[in-house]
Symmetry: C2
Subunit: 229 residues, 2 copies
DNA sequence: TGCCGTGATCTGTGATCACACTTAGGCTCG
DNA sequence: CGAGCCTAAGTGTGATCACAGATCACGGCA
C-alpha cells in the first residue's frame, strides 16, 4: 500500500471549532464554576488567537444555553436554580431513560463489550484505595454515552450532550469536591442493573436502572445545598 | 396610560440575534428548500448589514444542525435522508409524546383555553372551502407548542424547537405543495383526541394521540417520495 | 471535436479597528 | 474623614480588510 493511502483526513478543524470544543470540555468537566464570568479577549489570549474564534465558541455555547449573556452583555456560566436543576433532571430521566430502553432493544455484541469495559473501569476506580476521581468520572461519562449511542439514534445523543453541557458545571464541581460520592453511592449498583438489563434486552429494566442512577446523583447534588434557591 | 408604559422591551436585540431568528423562521416555515446553498455575503446584503451578523446566525444554526457546512466549507440546508427522517420521527414521538403526557398531568385552565383556541383555528381552516394553508400550518404549530409549554418544562420546549427546526424544511415544503393533506388527513381527529385527553388529565391518552398525529404526517411525507434514499 | 489547464470570482475564516456601554477606582469637594 | 462624581480601562458588537481555498467558465492545445 502506498503511503499516499494512509494520509487520511487533513483534520480541517477551524480555530473557532477548536475553541468551542475546548470551552465545551471545560464546562462538562466542571472546571468553570457557575457564575464565573468570561471575557472574549482574555479567552482569545489564552487560546493564542484573536477574539473571532472565541466569539464563535461563546456564541455557540450561548445558543446551547451552556453560557448566558447578562443584560449587561456580560458572559458567564449560568447559575442553576434548584427549580431549573430539578426540571433538567426530570427531562434527563425521560430522554436518557428512553435512550437506554431503545439501546436494550437494539444492542449488538461489540457495543455491549464496550459498555462492559467502561463499567469495569468505573468499578475499578470506585473500589481502588486511592481513586482517581477524574478518571472515574470519565469512565462514568463514557459508560453513559456508550449506552446512548447504542440506541442508534444520533440526534438523541446530540440532545443528551446538550443536557450534560448544562448540568456539567454543577454536577462535576460538586462531585469533585467530595470524594465520598464516588465510593459511597449506589452508582455502581445502578450501573450493574443497567448493564444486566442491556445484556438481556430488557428495555424497561434498563430505563428503570438509568432513572435510578440519575435520580441518585441528583439527590446527592441537592444535599450539598450549593444550588441557588 | 402614558406612552412610556407601552414601550415594553427595549428590543435590545442584537443584529446577530435578529438575523438568527429571521433565518430560523424561514427554515421552520420551509421557505428554504433542502440542498439550497447560502452565502454569507448575499445573506448580509439581504439583511442590510455586514457579514458579521450573518456569520453568527449561520454559525448558531449549524450548531443546531439546522444548517450544515460541506467539506468545501459551503453552507447549505441539509438534505434529509429517509433514514434520518425516520430517526427524527422516532425521537419526536418519544420526546413530544412525553411532553404531551406531562402537559396532561400539569394542565391548567388558561393553558387549556389557549389550546382549545388554536385547535378551533386549525379546524376552521381545514373545513374552509378556501383554506389558507399558511394560516392552517401556523395554527397547527401554535397548538403543538401550546401543549408542550403546558408541560412546565422549558428545556424540553427548547429541545423540541430544535427538532422542528431540522424537519421544518422537508415537512412544510411538502405540506404546502399539496393542499390535500390539510383537508384529507386525520390531523384534526388526532387533535381532537389530544385535546380531550388533556382536558381529562389522561397522560397516556395524550401521548398516544400526539404520537398518532406525528406518525400520520410522517407517513404522508414519506409517500411524497421526495426524501433522499 | 473533445479535454485539460488556467485565471477570475466567490466562498468562509481570521485579524484588526471603531464604537457604545458598563464598571470600577481614584480624586476632589463638602 | 467620608461621599459623590468622573475618568479610564474593559466589555461585547459590528464593520472592514486580508487571505487561502474552491468553483466555474473560457480558451488553447492535442
Amino acid at each position: 500500500m502506498g503511503s499516499i493511502a494512509r494520509i487520511g483526513r487533513v483534520a480541517h478543524a477551524t480555530l473557532g471549532a477548536q475553541a468551542y470544543e475546548s470551552l465545551r470540555d471545560l464546562l462538562i468537566a466542571g472546571e468553570l464554576a457557575p457564575g464565573e464570568r468570561l471575557s472574549l479577549r482574555t479567552l482569545a489570549e489564552r487560546l493564542g488567537t484573536s477574539v473571532m474564534p472565541a466569539r464563535e465558541a461563546v456564541s455557540r455555547l450561548v445558543a446551547d444555553e451552556a453560557l448566558e449573556v447578562l443584560p449587561n452583555r456580560a458572559v458567564r456560566v449560568p447559575v442553576l436554580t434548584l427549580g431549573t436543576f430539578r426540571e433538567l433532571t426530570r427531562v434527563r430521566i425521560a430522554v436518557e431513560g428512553f435512550a437506554a430502553a431503545e439501546a436494550a432493544r437494539a444492542m449488538e455484541a461489540d457495543g455491549l463489550a464496550a459498555i462492559h469495559a467502561h463499567d469495569a473501569a468505573f468499578r475499578r476506580e470506585v473500589l481502588a484505595s486511592e481513586p482517581d476521581l477524574e478518571r472515574g468520572m470519565r469512565a462514568n461519562r463514557d459508560l453513559h454515552f456508550a449506552v446512548y449511542r447504542a440506541a442508534g439514534l444520533p440526534s438523541l445523543v446530540t440532545i443528551i450532550e446538550g443536557l450534560w453541557l448544562r448540568i456539567g458545571p454543577v454536577l462535576n464541581l460538586d462531585l469533585r469536591s467530595s470524594r465520598r460520592r464516588l465510593a459511597e453511592g449506589g452508582a455502581q449498583v445502578h450501573h450493574a442493573r443497567l448493564v444486566a438489563a442491556l445484556a438481556t434486552g430488557d428495555g424497561e429494566g434498563a430505563r428503570a436502572a438509568l432513572a435510578a442512577d440519575i435520580a441518585g446523583s441528583a439527590d446527592f447534588i441537592e444535599t450539598t445545598g450549593r444550588l441557588a434557591p
